[in-house]
């Protein structure tokens, strides 16, 4: 079990301070997370909820105010853990005066990869992200989506075990988004662990195994996607090829009544994660200080 935990945070808190040490903003408050090997974990939350902050803390770009972050069981301050991490920043911050090939070569060198391996991998990755025709152009000339693609290639240059993606689909067209999702699933199938954050709920719902929802630095909800969106009290029946008629409603009502239920309504299914997300955000707004409680602690609390 302990071996399988790739990322772990304990009581991770980050307070941004200004130059004089005055408190500006607590971006993350006592976060406890653990991500297991081989899963795709999604961090969800509205803008400014602390997703990027969490990722930066894991990578050692920021130092925690209190609490700890561990990756591969090592402290986030450790440089050597980076050997096995691939990171795609929120916006891809690469050197704009390099072309795609040079970019990959540069980052490959930083991983101390020998040149033959480096060249082979760079060529493969450029094909993978579909920049074969643009590999000699400098990044300044790239479009947002192309930059996102080369950013992804850069994150994969070391064949990492843990891939951290900050809003991987931002800037991508629908085709690109589908391709990116495919790729993420592919990585998982290869046994990699993926941590991604996004506010595009359909993306998250399609690929993530587990998610955590952050609001204003607080963890609000955590669990597997299917569990979270499942509503044990209610049941959904989907069918195709039906027209909405009064007769259909009447018949369904009768069937449901016969089995002791009530028909609440019917229509086209909506994205349930979106509902969940909006509900969580609404609740958090209504009740400031609301926090996610892990199930083990939630049970006794509910009893009392």
């Amino acid at each position: 079990m302990a071996q399988d935990v790739i990322v772990e945070t304990r009581n991770l808190t980050k307070t941004y301070r200004d130059f004089w040490g005055r408190k500006k903003k607590t971006a993350l408050n006592a976060l406890d997370l653990s991500i297991n090997k081989g899963e795709i974990f999604g961090l969800l939350g509205p803008n400014g909820s602390g997703k990027t902050t969490t990722i930066k803390l894991l990578l050692g770009l920021l130092f925690p105010t209190t609490g700890d972050a561990f990756v591969f069981g090592e402290s986030s301050a450790n440089v050597e853990k980076n050997e096995r991490i691939g990171y795609l920043p929120e916006e891809s911050y690469l050197y704009r005066f390099l072309n795609a090939e040079e970019t990959l070569d540069f980052y490959g060198r930083l991983f101390n990869i020998p040149s033959s391996v480096r060249r082979k991998r760079a060529a493969e990755l450029i094909e993978l992200v579909g920049l074969g025709n643009d590999k000699k152009r400098i990044l300044r000339e790239y479009s947002k989506g192309m930059r996102q693609r080369i950013g992804l290639a850069q994150a994969l240059i070391n064949d990492p075990d843990l891939i951290i993606l900050d809003e991987p689909t931002s800037g991508l067209d629908p085709l690109g988004t589908a391709w990116m999702k495919e790729l993420i699933l592919d990585l998982r199938n290869k046994g990699k662990t993926v941590l991604m954050c996004s506010h595009r709920l359909d993306d998250v719902q399609d690929v993530c195994d587990r998610i955590a929802i952050l609001f204003n630095g607080d963890l609000q909800e955590q669990g597997t996607v299917t569990k979270l969106v499942e509503d044990a009290q209610r049941m959904q029946i989907t069918a195709t090829g039906l027209a909405l008629t009064d007769a259909l409603k009447h018949d369904l009502d009768a069937v449901i009544k016969k089995h002791g239920g009530t028909l609440d309504g019917f229509g086209h299914p909506s994205t349930t994660l979106e509902k969940l997300f909006l509900r969580v955000v609404d609740e958090s707004r209504a009740r400031p200080g609301r926090r996610y409680l892990p199930p083990t602690e939630a049970t006794p609390a509910a009893k009392s």
Binding site: S75, N78, N82
Partner: protein, 682 residues
């Protein structure tokens, strides 16, 4: 013998040579060690105050190893020991007794020497322990560095500069060549090369140093601002690798540019050339052998006279046939190179003439140059009216005079009782041109010199600031290598006497030297650039280190100020070492208030004077710390050597490299700690 035109090198201090290395290393451990100790203690105190419930990463960022603790304790104990020694007045550094001038005149700065006295040793060892302590995490980090990563980061700087078309800036350097200075100014022939050399040197300094500091100061801050650094520090890159990679990149880039510029400058000098008159003496790279100079007279404490010129680099001896005053250059040993396959060794000199009376129109001043070895020790005359020094061994002196006369009689085919003037005959003996047999006179003179170790030229006429030369028969140097004679004397002494009455002759140690040979001008030209290269490295280093913590503009200003203070380092050093007799600012204020003459000796019994002297002591200590931080830029300037036609010794360049590394190392250690504690995403 045509006079040489160049050779007016003013040596305010000797460049460091390999022999100075031990002393410099000791001084480095004393000074850098002091800074290291402060750093180490502050670091350990800081690490110990991190509360135990703090995050593990905070503790790992400020980890204190047992080794560091032990070194801190050792260092502290040694400093305590030093203070005890200091209070007890024991183990004082007698080797580096600082010569301070009493009359405000020029004192040549000397390199620190290695001292085995207890106080300096305690300081050095305390510093050593502190350096080891604070350096341990740094060294561990350095061991983790990988060439591939550093090279990648270095190449990045290279590419960035070239894709930003930075080379256009360097083309500015060509401007002065397009409009040669001689179009605008009229130069004396002998000044033409001097100005070409100094104009190229200024242009190169300007065109290289400015982009250097701009590139270096902004690179890391820009990486942080543009967040490129996110993709770098999230790779397995040690923080110091970022600093060092950047340093190598920019230093490498500028080195290439420097090499190109030097080549262009050299081609320019080759193609445009200098006027015919100057040519013969211009493209020289003399290899001088320099000695130590002392003043000597009948009175043992004669120190030379100060004639009150504002630039008191030179001191003066009085001119008169009856003057016993001499300026004596001495050589403890004779380099073998002076004896190897040659007939004579030129001795070149340039002096200042201070006229007390107008003198004779168009006449210079007459000198007597007497060169002696251990076997011909000289003593000042006893008689007041007598200006001629005598042989210590009088019998030998008489023997010499007799032999000289005999030799001349033999040359002239005269009888044993004919009267001859040996001096007059030998005065005009000329050494043979290369590859030809010597004249009979020269051969006889050489033989005589080799036998007695005595050679004198009287009535050598010189002009103000005009280089002159005499040729010393090689026999004298052979004599100097023979055993025998007074072992307490230097192997060779060259005594200068001024014969012309009413004139004062101004001399400084650098004014006279023996000429070992010549090297290639081209070689010298390229060697000169090495000094600039060291300066470039220093500037790039400071700027990058400061930029790891400061914003680009502030780093730029900080580096520029630190660097340019280096140009005044020598003057600040004078103040710190108390070379200026007016004392430091505290004493100056005190004497101002009391309306004393600034040069009046402070009354040692006066408590206020004591207090101000104490204040000045503290001030000079502070200034010395300031000097530690500021680079010693003067020592990297070889333009004077080049333009005056002196070869730049290779060992001095090696010392340049050593001092550059010694200067940059503490900065790099600082950058390691700054970079490690920096939250790049905040």
């Amino acid at each position: 013998m045509t006079p040489t035109l160049f050779g007016l090198l003013i040596l305010e201090r000797d460049p460091y040579v390999l022999a100075d290395a031990a002393g410099l290393v000791q001084a480095w451990f004393q000074d850098a060690g002091g800074f290291a100790a402060i750093g180490l203690f502050v670091y350990i105190l800081y690490a110990l105050t991190i509360p135990s419930e703090q995050a593990e990463s905070a503790k790992s960022r400020a980890s204190v190893t047992t080794f560091m603790l032990v070194m801190a304790v050792v260092s502290l104990l040694l400093y305590v020991g030093y203070v005890v020694l200091l209070a007890g007045g024991k183990g004082v550094d007698v080797t580096n007794f600082r010569q301070t001038s009493t009359d405000g005149s020029f004192v040549k700065a000397v390199a620190p020497k290695f001292s085995l006295n207890l106080q300096p040793m305690a300081l050095m060892l305390a510093g050593l322990a502190a350096v080891l302590g604070i350096g341990q995490p740094f060294a561990a980090n350095v061991l983790k560095m990988r060439g591939r990563r550093i090279w990648a980061l270095a190449k990045l700087g290279f590419k960035e500069a070239s894709r930003a078309k930075l080379y256009w800036v360097f083309l500015l350097f060509l401007l002065p060549f397009l409009f040669p200075a001689k179009w605008y100014f009229l130069f004396k022939a002998e000044n033409e090369l001097r100005s070409t050399v100094s104009i190229t040197a200024y242009a190169m300094n300007f065109v290289l140093l400015l982009p250097a500091v701009l590139l270096a100061a902004f690179s890391i801050p820009r990486d942080i601002r543009d967040q490129n650094i996110y993709t770098i520090v999230t790779k397995p890159v040690e923080r110091f690798e970022i600093v060092f990679g950047r340093f190598l990149g920019y230093a490498g880039l500028l080195s290439v540019v420097l090499l190109l510029m030097t080549t262009v400058g050299w081609l320019y000098i080759l193609t445009t050339g200098v006027s015919k008159e100057a040519e013969a003496d211009t493209y020289k790279a003399r290899v001088p052998v320099r000695g130590k100079m002392v003043f000597a007279s009948r009175k043992a404490d004669f120190q030379g006279t100060n004639v009150g010129r504002e630039f008191d680099y030179r001191k003066y001896i009085a001119g008169d046939p009856s003057s016993p005053q001499r300026a004596v250059w001495s050589y403890p040993r004779v380099p073998n190179a002076l004896i190897r396959d040659r007939d004579y060794v030129p001795c070149e000199f340039t002096f200042d003439i201070f006229r007390m009376t107008k003198g004779v129109e168009n006449r210079g001043v007459d000198l007597t140059v007497r060169v002696t070895t251990r076997q011909a020790g000289q003593v000042p005359p006893v008689d007041q009216k007598d200006g001629t020094w005598r042989w210590a061994d009088e019998a030998r002196g008489q023997l010499y005079a007799k032999d000289a006369k005999d030799a001349v009689r033999k040359l002239r085919g005269l009888g044993p009782n004919d009267d001859v003037n040996a001096e007059a005959v030998f005065r005009y003996a000329e050494p043979p041109p290369p590859g030809q047999p010597p004249s009979k006179e020269w051969a006889a003179l050489n033989e005589l010199t080799e036998k007695y170790g005595f050679f004198e030229i009287a009535g050598k006429e010189i002009f103000d600031y005009h280089p002159e030369s005499i040729n010393i028969p090689v026999g004298l140097f052979k004599n100097a290598q023979q055993p025998g004679g007074d072992a307490s004397l230097p192997a060779i002494s060259i005594a200068i006497k001024c014969q012309t009455g009413g004139q004062m002759l101004g001399v400084a140690e650098g004014d006279l030297y023996l000429l070992e040979g010549q090297r290639l001008f081209a070689e010298n030209y390229f060697k000169t650039s090495f000094g600039l290269w060291c300066r470039l490295c220093i500037l790039v280093g400071i700027a990058i280190v400061l930029s790891t913590y400061l914003a680009g503009v502030i780093a730029l200003l900080g580096a520029a100020v630190t660097f340019f203070c280096g140009y005044f380092g020598d003057h600040i050093a004078d103040m710190a070492t108390g070379n200026s007799s007016a004392g430091g600012p505290f004493r100056a204020v005190n004497s101002l208030l009391k309306a004393e003459q600034p040069t009046a000796q402070a009354d040692p019994a006066n408590s206020l004077a004591k207090l101000t002297d104490g204040g000045d002591l503290f001030f000079s200590w502070m200034v010395r710390r300031f000097i530690n931080v500021v680079p010693d830029l003067d020592s990297y300037s070889w333009t004077g050597y080049l333009s005056e036609g002196f070869s730049v010794p290779l060992e001095c360049l090696a010392m340049n490299l050593l001092t550059t590394v010694g200067y940059l190392l503490p900065w790099f250690v600082l950058s390691f700690y700054l970079m490690r504690s920096r939250e790049v995403a905040a």
